[in-house]
Amino acid sequence: MAIRTFIEAIRDGMAGEMRRDGSVIVLGEDVGRKGGVFLATDGLWAEFGDDRVIDTPLTESMIIGASIGAAMNGLRPIAEIQFADFIHPAFNQLVSEAARMRYRTNGVVGVPMVVRAPYGGGVHGALYHSQSVEAFFTHVPGLKVVIPSTPYDAKGLLRSAIRDEDPVLYFEHKKMYRSVRGEVPDVEYTVPLGRASIRRAGRHVTLVAYGLMVAYGLEAAERVAPEGVEVEVVDLRTLRPLDRETLLGSVRKTGKCLVAYEDNRFGGYGAEIAAIVAEEAFDYLDGPVSRIAGPDVPAMPYNHALEDWFMLSPAKIADAIRKLAAY
């Protein structure tokens, strides 16, 4: 067991899979010699060379579209989108093509590829380097969406994503890259897609979260614990496919559910979680399924005062927990 940062775990996950499987390649802007703007791919170009670590032109639709083609012809591409905010030019390729290839060929042609992208705010990234984009893609059948919250999971989930036969979007909260550390075994292991994890057990309120919000949620749980509120924190890890059993099992136990997400509230991923819980755990609910989420403004503004206003925090989540617990 070594202690690794979040980004090191991601890098290790890629390097490990590239060593194991010669068909895995990495492509994206600045992923080669520079090793990526966050250094997620640092060292890969030196180890695997020009053919397997490709510095692409500044063209996201091409990065995704060519990855689809490469996946159809025997490779397993890991495409890096430099910031999740810049995935939008590739939206058509992801939604119309990657997501539908297996379905439209009646199962004959698959597209095994991973799209990695740093998302999320609180890093002075402003309107265009802070976005949470998961809701756009969790809505799309045919895509899988993973958002890890620990270095252990980051590596294990990434390995599973690379081995998956279908396109997986893998979003990494950029604020966690260097601030989060944890134990990561040196041995090869995977964490399966589609399984949530209960990070903290509790009897009164289920807090559903993913990515950075898991850490904030755990901190919020600590804050309210002395007040006698026991929070169960469910880390979804894979947003699609969703682990309904773990989610509903927890809510049926606690009777109260709060969903925390950093993205804009209206139509965000948490809306689906809330809707599922409201429908499928209705008889168990002792309070309204609640959400705490990013404000409904177009994007995270830059000035620190504005950014702080936008971002969720352990304190804001704790307030929402208190309100729900008191219901």
Binding site: M62, R100, R102, V108
Partner: protein
């Protein structure tokens, strides 16, 4: 894809010899053009008869399609075609039955199992990429396929095909730039029929020839007369050889004509003059190729008569066969969202919950 070899098939008229083929090749090529036309015409008849709700056609494009595709290695090279690529698909190995199954959207349609709209062909066993509707996306798939071919050393060439209107999409720019930088084994074919639905070329492409755009990527751009099947073959062969030997991509623009409305949902007389339509008909590749082969003595009365009978029978067979095949079972609609059925969301309430029926292939 040449048949040239020893034996009687190797006979070559001066015309055939001029492009390095045997007369037998030319006859097969002619048959493909004529067959594509016959299948296509049947599609319209079926549409008018209410048998199939939608037709989109390759009529006028067939000469270029056969000539260009003839330069590829069947079941080895890759093709990312578009909705007019009937003759391309036939040349690459699909059969009239395959096409008609797609047209009727039957369960046994090997491209999509009846999920795709007519005209959206796919032939995985022939390395024909499944056609989708948003135009131009396929160029990036072909480029990615070419990238994989290069990295894996498969000696494959990838071809993408679309109309001139579609060539203005952003994906085309990004694809050509990347393919050119990496000198990928890639050929881009534009079938320019002068219209994007109703919009004439001068309102949708800012230059006379799409091929003029090639130099902006540092790759060769060639214009070829789409009624000249053998010229298309020659141009295609050069591009494919260049691609295969590491010389990088080529942009080929074939000037063709759209003999029909855009699709069965369109009325082209609303936006095309009678002169324009007549001019189009004068560029029908079928009679032009036929006359050329007859002149060269490659096509004789005998051969023609035999082909006519054979093609009629094949089209009849394909139609009857497809018509008789069953529709897909509606409950298969949940299948193949993912390779792993367990990854699917639960099916809707009206879906039977029996084993094998919820969320996965059965």
């Amino acid at each position: 894809m040449t048949l040239t070899g020893d034996g009687p098939d190797a006979t070559a008229s001066p015309l055939a010899a001029s492009v390095g083929l045997a007369d037998a090749d030319l006859v097969v090529m002619y048959r493909l053009v004529a067959l594509a036309r016959a299948v296509d015409e049947r599609m319209w008849i079926l549409n008018r008869a209410g048998r199939i709700p939608f037709v989109i056609s390759g009529q006028g494009h067939e000469g270029a399609q056969v000539g260009l595709a003839w330069a590829l290695r069947r079941n080895h090279d890759w093709i990312a075609p578009f909705y007019r690529s009937i003759a391309t698909c036939l040349t690459a190995g699909m059969t009239p039955r395959d096409l008609m199954l797609a047209q009727y959207a039957k369960a046994s349609d090997s491209g999509s199992g009846g999920r795709q709209m007519p005209g959206h062909y796919g032939g995985p066993e022939h390395n024909i990429v499944s056609v989708s509707s948003p135009v131009a996306t396929q160029i990036l798939h072909a480029v990615g396929i070419a990238l994989a071919a290069r990295i894996r050393g498969t000696d494959q060439v990838a071809v993408a095909i679309m109309g001139e209107g579609s060539s203005n999409q952003g994906d085309v720019h990004e694809a050509l730039n990347f393919a050119a930088i990496h000198r990928l084994p890639f050929v881009f074919i534009v079938e320019n029929n002068g219209y994007a639905i109703s919009v004439p070329a001068e309102r949708e492409v800012s230059v006379k020839d799409v091929a003029m755009r090639a130099s902006g990527y540092g790759i060769p751009g060639v214009v070829v007369d789409g009624t000249d099947v053998l010229a298309c073959y020659r141009v295609g062969r050069e591009a494919v050889e260049r691609a295969r030997s590491g010389g990088g991509p080529t942009l080929i623009e074939a000037k063709v004509t759209r003999l029909t409305a855009h699709s069965s949902d369109d009325q082209q007389t609303k936006y095309r003059s009678e002169t324009d339509l007549a001019e189009g008909r004068a560029h029908d590749p079928l009679p032009i190729f036929r006359a050329r082969l007859r002149e060269a003595g490659v096509l004789t009365d005998e051969i023609e008569a035999a082909l006519t009978v054979e093609i009629a029978a094949v089209v009849e067979d394909a139609t009857d066969f497809a018509e008789a095949e069953p529709d897909p079972d509606p409950f298969t609609a949940v299948d193949w969202v993912y390779a792993d059925p367990a990854a699917s969301e639960p099916p809707p309430p009206w879906h039977p919950a029996g084993p094998g029926l919820s969320g996965g292939p059965h």
